[in-house]
């Protein structure tokens, strides 16, 4: 009986996390960046490494390291908020006119939960993303990759919804095929 309960808890939680990701994607696609920022923990680490071509067996050298190497992104909430502020100036030419964005999130999987499925406070989840960006007339970018997130149950002012505490963004590209990264993933 207990085992069955865990499976149901797990199922509900997976759906809850997927729903969270969809809601988040919707906010980003509608440029509702202030509300998006509210979904981020104060101590978030938002990290997007660069990827090297490395020899078989040298996988540990594939990604640039957070906190010591150059990365595409290695951010906290404060700098993410500044990026939002920049877009909101209306003269950030790289996003003016605004890009048309669609964030597709799929393959959502729970990788771990603390302390337990019945009372989840912290969840590790992975997913795949596909971001379609189209802007001005014919400019089009497609970014595909994997995300590794740690979500934390919010409390107090932030309500009891989930907050993104860590995000690792693994883009399936070596040379970045887009001229810039003016959007969030």
């Amino acid at each position: 009986m207990a085992e069955r309960d865990t499976r149901i808890d797990r199922l509900f939680l997976r759906q809850e996390i997927a729903d969270f990701f969809y809601r988040e994607a919707e906010l980003l696609d509608h440029h509702r960046y202030r509300e998006w920022l509210d979904l981020l923990a104060e101590d978030i680490r938002y990290w997007m490494p660069m990827r090297r071509n490395v020899k078989f067996g040298e996988a540990e050298r594939e990604f640039t390291r957070a906190g010591s190497d150059i990365n595409w992104f290695d951010e906290g909430k404060e700098t993410l908020a500044r990026r939002v502020k920049q877009i909101e100036t209306g003269i950030h030419w790289a996003e003016e006119p605004r890009s048309r964005l669609s964030h597709l999130v799929t393959n959502v999987q729970l990788q771990g939960v603390e302390p337990c499925f019945a009372d989840p406070q912290e969840v590790s989840a992975t997913c795949r993303f596909l971001i379609y960006r189209n802007r001005v007339e014919t400019e089009t970018d497609i970014l595909v990759g994997r995300r590794e997130d740690v979500l934390r149950r919010g409390s107090g002012e932030a309500g009891d919804g989930w907050l993104v505490a860590r995000r690792k963004i693994i883009l399936d590209q070596n040379v970045l095929l887009s001229k810039n990264l003016t959007f969030f993933i």
Binding site: W72, D74, N174
Partner: protein, 459 residues
């Protein structure tokens, strides 16, 4: 074929008397093809930094113009730059970005090359080649000349090119700002892990002329100034030291190198910076003092964006980077960016600077993003038949450069415009395109090394 093209690049396409450059040189495919031959196969090009290949066997795959090259350190500790293409059928012998190896084995038919470039292995050498293949002649193609300047590695395919420091002319002074320590000690820079590479749909000369010293594009960066990412916390992206300095354009006229430069007053140290990060603030305060001690008057020079002809950008202050504008056809550029810190800086300082650098530069950089948007659409809007009839305008500050500039006892050789009052000039771009035209006209280096003969007064 381009062989039949009538001479007269300068008159037809780069008219510096009027201050006009034809759009053709950015969008025309024949001109692009000729640039590969006349510029990229003859000029000195930046390849990487020795800190990227610290140990014997280490390699870093770089590029020189369109072509992939391998920068590597052989077993005897000698540094080489090889064309990354097998001598048998051209297969790329190394498709990793960096690593360490004893041998580069071609995946196609298995020829293998030592880290010194020698062909050391040929399958069926005895049977199929009857032991007669001249392996000595079939090593990896090596650059004609290589220079290690304070740790930065440069190379050229042209054996007749002058030595690298002669190629730089007086510009060594500004490359030194890039590669020496903040405290003025020689060659203290190291490259942080991870070289950014990204594609921008524009001709390579858009970033090259921008980094030559475009002091006019403030509006491009209004949004980041409003958002505030300065290294001292909020506020502008520039540093306080600029406010107390003279701001100059400095061009080395016969070399095509040019930079923005700040010169501090004789009696002043830069104002304190990074005050919200005490360890960093203390490090820079210490370095400024040491720099004065080590360099004397030279310590008054504060670097800013600059360009070494043709496609290497310097930014020796903040964010401290070098960039390569790698041509990928007339309409596309692959930007490469290396990030530098002082090797001996405390890790808190390195971390602080790294965070600032990636917020500023590259495709995710809040400053550079807007540059790339401009280069992208400026290029796109210049491709049409009608658009090509109207040259770009480079008249700003025409005829105002001086050749005897000094500020409170510190001489700055070259063609100089003091921008402190006039704000901006296009002297650096004129200098860049003058050299561009010379490269496109000259048959060989005997015509390009103009400084070796007496300069004509008519110039």
């Amino acid at each position: 074929m381009t062989m039949n093209r009538p001479r007269g690049w300068r008159r037809g396409l780069v008219d510096l008397d009027v201050g006009e450059v034809s759009r053709e040189i950015f969008v025309n495919e024949e001109i692009y093809a000729e640039e590969q031959e006349r510029i990229f196969a003859r000029a000195w090009l930046h390849v990487g930094h020795e800190s990227q290949i610290a140990k014997p066997g280490d390699y870093f795959v770089s590029c020189m113009g369109e072509e992939s090259v391998i920068l590597c350190r052989d077993r005897a500790n000698k540094v080489h730059v090889f064309l990354n293409s097998c001598r048998h059928r051209g297969m790329k012998v190394c498709r990793y970005d960096e690593g360490s190896t004893t041998v580069f084995t071609c995946p196609y038919h298995g020829w293998s090359y030592g880290t010194d470039g020698r062909l050391v292995g040929v399958p069926y050498f005895r049977e199929a080649y009857h032991s007669r293949l001249d392996k000595e002649k079939l090593g990896l193609v090596e650059v004609a000349q290589l220079a290690n300047y304070k740790g930065s590695i440069w190379a050229t395919w042209d054996p007749a090119a002058p030595p690298f420091t002669e190629y730089l002319g007086g510009f060594t002074r500004y490359l030194d700002l890039q590669l020496d320590g903040w405290d003025g000690r020689e060659g203290q820079a190291e490259v942080l892990g991870g070289v950014q590479k990204w594609l921008v749909p524009c001709n390579w000369k858009f970033p090259a002329e921008n980094f030559s010293g475009d002091t006019y594009h403030n509006i491009s960066h209004r949004s980041v100034d409003l958002a505030g990412i300065g290294p001292s916390g909020a506020g502008r992206r520039d540093m306080g030291e600029r406010d107390v300095s003279r701001k100059l354009h400095v061009c080395v006229p016969d070399r095509g190198h040019q930079t923005i430069l700040y010169v501090l007053p004789a009696d002043k140290l830069p104002p304190p910076a990074y005050m919200n990060a005490p360890i960093v603030a203390e490090y820079f305060r210490h370095c400024e003092e040491e720099r004065r001690r080590n360099r004397g008057e030279e310590a008054r020079l504060v670097g800013a964006p600059g360009e070494i002809f043709p496609n290497t950008a310097l930014l020796s202050r903040q964010p401290r980077t070098m960039a390569g504008w790698q041509p990928r056809g007339p309409h596309q550029t692959e930007c490469w960016r290396w990030f530098f810190v002082d090797r001996d800086a405390p890790s808190e300082v390195k971390n602080f600077l790294r965070d600032y650098y990636i917020r500023y530069s590259g495709p995710a950089g809040m400053t550079e993003q807007d540059d790339m948007e401009n280069w992208n659409y400026a290029h796109a809007a210049s491709r049409g038949t009608i658009a090509r009839r109207y040259p770009y305008n480079y008249e700003q500050g025409h005829g105002t450069a001086v050749t005897d500039y000094a500020y409170q006892g510190l001489r700055v050789p070259g063609e100089v415009i003091d921008l402190t009052e006039v704000q901006s000039s296009e002297q650096p771009m004129r200098n860049f395109y003058r050299r561009w035209a010379e490269f496109m006209e000259a048959d060989d280096w005997s015509q390009l090394a103009t400084w070796r003969t007496v300069r004509k007064a008519a110039e």
